[in-house]
Homo-oligomer: 214 residues x 2
Amino acid sequence: MKKEKISEFTTHRLSIYLRCLTTLEEEGVETVSSKTLAERFSLNSAQIRKDLACFGQFGVRGLGYPVSELRRRISDILGLGTMHRVCVVGGGNLGMALAEYGGFLQHGFFRCRHLRQLPRKIGRRSRNGVPIYALASLAEVAGSEGIEMAMVAVPAKAAAAVCEAVFDAGIRAVLNFAPVRLQARPGTKIHSTDLSISLEGLSYFLANNPQAGS
Amino acid sequence: MKKEKISEFTTHRLSIYLRCLTTLEEEGVETVSSKTLAERFSLNSAQIRKDLACFGQFGVRGLGYPVSELRRRISDILGLGTMHRVCVVGGGNLGMALAEYGGFLQHGFFRCRHLRQLPRKIGRRSRNGVPIYALASLAEVAGSEGIEMAMVAVPAKAAAAVCEAVFDAGIRAVLNFAPVRLQARPGTKIHSTDLSISLEGLSYFLANNPQAGS
């Protein structure tokens, strides 16, 4: 197992396999071949075999992969066995949505603590019970609660300073939603999710693929 | 200009260059070299030159790229000159955040119409005035309003059916937030933004990069 060599693209694909396997497990499917997995979920079967071969012997020739075992194994590789505590920084609509987004909890790996700058909400809780703190207490709360990841959903102009505050608080993993590029420090990681970039990709598609006459 | 040959990775990078150039323009910078652009925003200067060379002659050797002109040009390439109308399908917190997210409007290319299934809100408007419709009227509203893109933020189990309804309504570009893989039809495009996948990538980073002793 060459853990060090796994690229972000590979971990991204492992996450996708995990979702597909979870679906199959819920349907009661016990084994699946790379070919069936690929056809069912629009994946590349050669890529699946290559990705999974990195992590040792999974499949049985002619039978395919054992669904539940493979799902557990990928979950372990991604470090999802431990509960990572995540906080949200940013109290706008997106920050509130992230703090309350049920989708994450289904994957069972984090608890959300919401840090909001607007004074009128500090000391209260969000609708689903996430406590709201002042940004000034980030380091203190991160230390006492063992927070390891931060989702940063603040305006572009504030993002760099907030990111520095997050690192100063000892949080080493950041998911950034602001439409700016942020600098990671050594030993830290930033993933950026800029929704506008996805929309611009779709805009490019529409501009270059005019509707067929109908 | 070989429009057909541009990959999603390239359009993604063009979107990033666009943000960097907008920042520089706001700062009053008139020209920038690929080297400075790369250093300032943690990009790859050779990649910048290669990407921009696809679209004709931009830079002046020794002087660099004219910031405003390059920004406009990339904006045109991405089809951002025309205002694409976007709707949101899904009335949960994420859907509401997307319908009200100011970040998109700064890029000036869409207007948001919010289609919500919860009956108690239908016929009303969101806090920032986005009208809320029943999903059943999607095709009618999409036709009358000229909606070209849909952001789908519904639970995983509902996403495939909603996506079919979106395509049936003549909308050809989908940004999917549900943690499932959806099938595009010929002539349509789906971008998926699964926030859990980003968090899992960070989880993998934390699992494989233990904190240095401090």
